[in-house]
Amino acid sequence: MLCQICRKKRSSGHIVQIAFGRKYIDLYVCEDCAKALLENAGINLDEAESFSFGDFLKFFFSTMELDSSDAQTCPVCGSSFSDFQRKSLLGCSNCYNVFKAKLEPIIINYQGSNKHIGKGSHYKEETPILKENKPKKEPQPELETLKKELKKAINEERYEDAATIRDKIKSLEKNSKDVRNS
């Protein structure tokens, strides 16, 4: 049969599978169209031995608009998202929090889901529910709130309140400095 993309050459046994949710469509294509599709995705058909997650990522990123100026790094392990793009591996558990937005479409595309329903989830009630391990280093919300309160107190001319808040801020800042220096 004729290649279903270029409709010029005969299909050479290469199949492109396109999934719409759970439905699949098989397109029979010629070798040239198959190569062209893969080339656009940065995959060399002759060199590729098998389709690895690394290849999946390359293909995925080539079809995605990426914000390459984002230099965000994980505060726990120091990895960046471009480290992930390079290695196909994340640095630590906290990376899943830090890069959540960018990882979500990749996870959904590869796994077909982004919701755990196996061991440890509420879905499986007979197994003990695991403690969610939160990362130890978290920003101090207290400090920010106090600073806002201080501003408000000064604006409203409640100078005694402002003095109390200012002292609280000072002691919090001194404590975190001590932790960093120890």
Partner: protein, 350 residues
Amino acid sequence: MSEIVESFLIKPPSWNISSNGVTLSSRVRLVRNLSEFPFATSANLIQKKSVREKVFSTLESYFKSAGINVDFIEAETLTERDINILLGLRLINYSFSKDLKGKGLCLSKDGSISIVINEVDHIKIHIYSENLAFEKIYSKANSIDDYLIENLNISFSEELGFLTACPTNIGTALRASSILHIPSIVTTGEINDIAKFLGRKDIMIRGLFGNEEGLGDVFQLSNTETLGKTEEEIIGEVYNVSEQLIKREEELRNKLVSTSPEEVQDRINKSQGIIKYAKFLSLHEAFEIISLFRMAKLAGLLPEIELEKINTALLKISPEMIKAIDPKIKTTQEENKLRAEILKQILNEE
């Protein structure tokens, strides 16, 4: 040199050679990480050693109370020969063998349990079986896992499940796989349709003895997805697909043997001649003979050779096992020479 690994060369683990059907072996793998350390590929040596120490200590208490005999190995102590034996037995993979610093291995004396520390993730629990006893081996893995969860900070997220270095493994972090010997499915060309059919079922298939000449007849099936399904669903899917392939292989094999028994016997006779007289045998040549013998044996032919001997031959022809048997071997020709000798020893009734 590791004693337990050496012992596996003399007496391979039962699951490697006891298979009596299309299934050569099955495996359940659980991946776990400690939340307070970076994943193994981003951790430094000190962190990796801490992980190894903690996990070894926890596993030691578990296996002691479970009454299971295990060995704990710091990977730096493994010799090249040990590595070849472990690779040949599929107790480790190539990623483990590159740069052993900080890595660890916990092996049960019967070889059915292999726990790898710090390869890509902190902990990978593998349990093996010689048939499709998925429920049994999953239950063993699960029991080890429960103990780890109780005694260590295992990284887990309500939304994404167990966290792993690669997002392809998160969620249940469970991979269930079966290794099947399906020569008749390959001969008839049905293997191509099967690859397509499996893609739709979220099962991946990989030829283990493939090369330029062909796909080989031994394939590994495993689930591709680990998130969004329960452990029972994943195991059920791999089990069902394996059963379907086994049935189809048995059907096609019986058809092939019953419609052309003389041709099959002739192929056997020619192969027996090759084994008896060949001085050199490549991996591909040896594999073809063993695959034929195994298919014939399961079809009721070849009464004089035990299936376990054929399974053992299949195990020993890999380059890794050949190099483990004689570490002095350097060239492919030397390898091919020893391979021919080994096959003669195992399969020739002298």
